[in-house]
């Protein structure tokens, strides 16, 4: 079939549509570019950091090449060629001030590497790679740790450019010359924190549903004027700073706090047996439920608003009790709102950091507190990235499971 100008209709249609598509693309381009630049690229680079490990091979290129010929399990020190290459590499690294960075990097794997590189750098600087050979004894003389097989084994093990070491660390294991091994028992913490984060997020989501459902129901079924006032009360916390709300919980829950004072005053609790309600899991659950509650109420409310009240009347006219009418008719219709609210609250809470830090004590902190520690204190960004990637993967798996069980089409925000 041909169009008026003689070209095939399919072609000219495609051309007309292409123009439309281009225009559509141009319209969304600002947002697309914004999302790419500010969201996809940073997340991508964060994910890449969890496996990227170029530092050892870049700082000590000759040494790493020589170490390939050395068997870390032989229990014998590497030969002179490795030491000569090491001195040559170090002289360059010291000139660029890179040896101390390498020391920091290797210190994550073996305690003492940080000061080994900082201190030995001052002396190795004075060696001349061209004339001062042989180096083996001189280097061991500078610091006897260079005469330790383990030092070289650590350098060799972590010289690969793409490593699984950070991911192993993130699940309480470590990369060793003999392969992946479990961390010693007294350093295992991360798996426990992952489990705790998931369980507590579920509890918080559950308590948000229990507390939020009646409120949403009231909002949807009261008269407009009363409902509006109630709505403002729901939204009010949104307008208050997160830190203020969290600190307010501290004032309420602490042992010399408002709730304990009232309980002691009315005689329910003895003065010397005040309740411990903060700096533990209970404190975290209470404070976070309060903070995340609006995210549960709002989707529920907008879904409940669309439920036609005549359905309930119809059910009752056919002999259903109040409970049956609610449970068989109203509740199933409101499930999409619960689903949407639960996903929102759950995903927000597993990434929560500041509230658990303030009210969580030792038993109520989440994996995100550990991520924050590795980002801002220990500077082990590789490990932080691996922990973040695992958290992201867990969320995606849960989302997928939710889709399989409940169905994502069944989630509505209104």
């Amino acid at each position: 079939m041909l169009a008026a100008d003689g070209t095939p209709l399919k072609k000219s249609l495609a051309r007309a549509l292409r123009l439309q598509k281009m225009r559509a693309l141009a319209l969304i381009a600002p947002l697309l570019i914004f999302v790419l630049v500010s969201f996809i690229i940073p997340i991508g680079s964060m994910l890449f950091r969890s496996v990227e490990n170029g530092m050892v091979a870049e700082t000590l290129p000759l040494t790493v090449a020589e170490l390939k010929n050395w068997d870390a399990e032989s229990n014998e020190l590497p030969d002179e060629a490795v030491y000569a290459a090491f001195v040559a590499d170090m002289v360059v690294a010291i000139a660029n001030k890179e040896h101390t960075r390498l020391g920091t990097r290797l210190n994550y794997e073996k305690t003492g590497m940080s000061s080994l590189f900082r201190k030995s750098g001052r002396k190795i600087k004075n060696l001349d790679p061209a004339t001062d050979a042989p180096f083996k004894d001189k280097v061991i003389d500078i610091d006897k740790k260079f005469g330790d097989v383990e030092t070289w084994a650590v350098i060799k093990t972590h010289s690969v450019k793409i490593t699984n070491g950070y991911f192993l660390n993130a699940v309480d294991m470590q990369r060793t010359p003999e392969g992946a091994l479990a961390q010693p028992e007294d350093k295992r913490i991360l798996i426990r924190l992952f489990q705790r984060t998931l369980i507590m997020s579920l509890i918080i989501t559950g308590s948000c549903i229990l507390l939020g459902y009646p409120v949403a129901w009231l909002l949807a079924n009261l008269q407009a004027r009363t409902a509006n006032i109630l709505m403002i009360l729901v939204l009010l916390p949104f307008w208050t700073s997160l830190l203020v709300r969290t600190s307010a919980w501290k004032v309420m829950l602490q042992q010399q706090g408002v709730i304990n004072d009232v309980l002691v005053w009315i005689g329910l609790v003895a003065d010397d047996a005040r309740l411990v309600m903060i700096n533990n899991q209970f404190g975290t659950i209470v404070a976070m439920t309060h903070i995340l509650l609006p995210f549960m109420i709002l989707p529920m409310y907008s879904v409940m608003q669309t439920i036609n009240p005549s359905y309930l009347r119809a059910a009752k006219s056919m002999g259903a009790t109040n409970w049956t009418a609610f449970w068989r008719v109203y509740f199933p219709l409101s499930v999409p709102g619960i689903g949407a609210g639960s996903i929102l609250v759950f995903i927000l809470s597993i990434g929560y950091y500041i509230t658990p830090e303030i009210v969580g004590g030792t038993k109520g902190v989440f994996i995100s507190n550990r991520i924050a520690y590795h980002i801002s204190s220990s500077l082990n960004w590789g490990l932080a990235a691996a922990l973040g990637s695992i958290l992201l993967a867990v969320v995606l798996i849960l989302y997928w499971a939710y889709d399989k069980i409940v169905g994502i089409d069944n989630v509505k925000l209104g």
């Binding site: 660029n96 001030k97 890179e98 101390t100 960075r101 020391g103 920091t104 210190n107 994550y108 305690t111 003492g112 590497m113 940080s114 000061s115 900082r118 007294d186 350093k187 295992r188 913490i189 426990r192 924190l193 602490q254 042992q255 010399q256 706090g257 700096n279 830090e357 004590g361 030792t362 038993k363 902190v365 550990r370 980002i375 801002s376 204190s377 220990s378 500077l379 082990n380």
Partner: protein, 362 residues
């Protein structure tokens, strides 16, 4: 109208570099500490040179942020206030500029060179010391009975002093105190702590009070906990306790025993443009001279890092009380002190922190 706007825009664009040249961003800790720097350093410096100083309270994340700025290739800070251990790390990472104390810092009024005046305080090539502060304990005078605690080991004695105590949520200092009170001699503490058995010993000692501890992560926590009576004693920085005791008049007193000295000071980020570097150096030269360091002690109870500043320490600017007896370095307070071991913790921080956190979570 349009022409006027354009003219304004052009004028603005032309003026921008000139305005920029008169600004510098100084990063510090915020709160009373930044205020003391504002009064003692920033205001006189601005008056003298006309440079506008912008404050940024990001010091507790300075190392991470400087590293990120360095990777992004855009360093927006000119001078940064950090604790000594962070200065050492920044120097190790190549993120801070090396300073030559004798040519780039002011000599003492009597002509003593800066390196001699600062002495042991120059713990890193990049670090310009400013104050000595200490981490020590404060206790509620009304909640500890008739015999107030006077020994660090009273912290571990829950029979004589029942009630909660607050400790920092990190191994540094706590492990040392635990070993001291478990019979390890002061000079052996770090040798013991370097061994896995020693670390277990310290954690076992801390285990005896674990149920009675509230763990803090911000310096303001212990003062609040003490003021509310949540804890009967707790560790924090001595300046925070000073303000609880003298400014807020709470029933709190200082323990001082086995206080841990630490240093705080300036670094200049590496990679500044020549012009900004010169300005930063000029500021540092001014702000760390003998008189300026002594001036800061009028506003906060931290000891000046220069030997020559100590005799110049006077009275508090608002309260009018003598500041010398409140300094951690005062002979009465410094009968039994401990110096933060930078090298040890640079090596063992990652390892012991993992164990400590695992122990906490148990």
């Amino acid at each position: 109208m349009k022409i006027k706007l354009t003219a304004l825009a052009v004028a603005g664009a032309l003026m921008a570099p000139a305005a920029m040249a008169q600004e510098m961003t100084i990063v510090s800790w915020g709160g009373a500490y930044s205020k003391s720097q504002l009064k003692a350093y920033h205001e006189p410096y601005s008056e003298k040179t006309g440079v506008t100083i912008i404050n940024d309270d990001s010091s507790n994340e300075a190392v991470a942020k400087l590293r990120a700025m360095n990777e992004a290739g855009n360093i927006t800070w000119d001078v940064v206030d950090v604790v000594a251990s962070d200065a050492i790390r920044l120097c190790d990472e190549g993120l801070a500029m090396e300073i030559d104390a004798d040519t780039q810092l002011a000599p003492a009024p009597d002509g003593t060179s800066a390196s001699e005046d600062f002495g042991d305080m120059l713990v890193s090539e990049c670090f310009i010391p400013q104050i000595v502060y200490s981490t020590t304990f404060g206790y509620r005078t009304d909640l500890v009975g008739d015999t107030p605690p006077d020994d660090i080991c009273d912290v571990f004695d829950t029979t004589a002093y029942p009630g909660k105590r607050s400790l920092e949520k990190r191994p540094i200092n706590n492990m040392e105190w635990a070993l001291l009170c478990d019979g390890v001699a002061k000079e052996d503490v770090y040798d013991v702590l370097a061994t896995p058995e020693g670390q277990d010993q310290a954690l076992a000692k801390l285990d005896t009070i674990k149920d009675d501890v509230i763990w803090w992560s911000a310096g303001a926590d212990t003062p609040q906990l003490l003021a509310d009576g949540e804890v009967i004693m707790g560790s924090t920085y001595n300046g925070r306790l000073f303000s609880v005791i003298e400014e807020q008049k709470q029933p709190v007193a200082m323990l001082w025993d086995a206080q841990v000295f630490d240093l705080d000071g300036w670094i200049i980020p590496a990679g500044l443009s020549e012009e900004r570097k010169q300005r930063a150096l000029d500021y540092i030269y001014f702000a760390t001279d003998t008189q300026r360091l002594a001036d800061q002690a009028k506003y906060i109870s931290y000891g000046p890092a220069r030997a020559s500043s100590a005799p110049l320490v006077g009275k508090h600017a608002d309260l009018g009380i003598d500041m010398a007896p409140h300094m951690p370095t005062d002979p009465n307070n410094a009968k039994n002190t401990f110096l933060y071991n930078y090298e040890f913790w640079a090596d063992y921080r990652d390892d012991i922190n993992a164990k400590f956190q695992a122990w906490l979570a148990k």
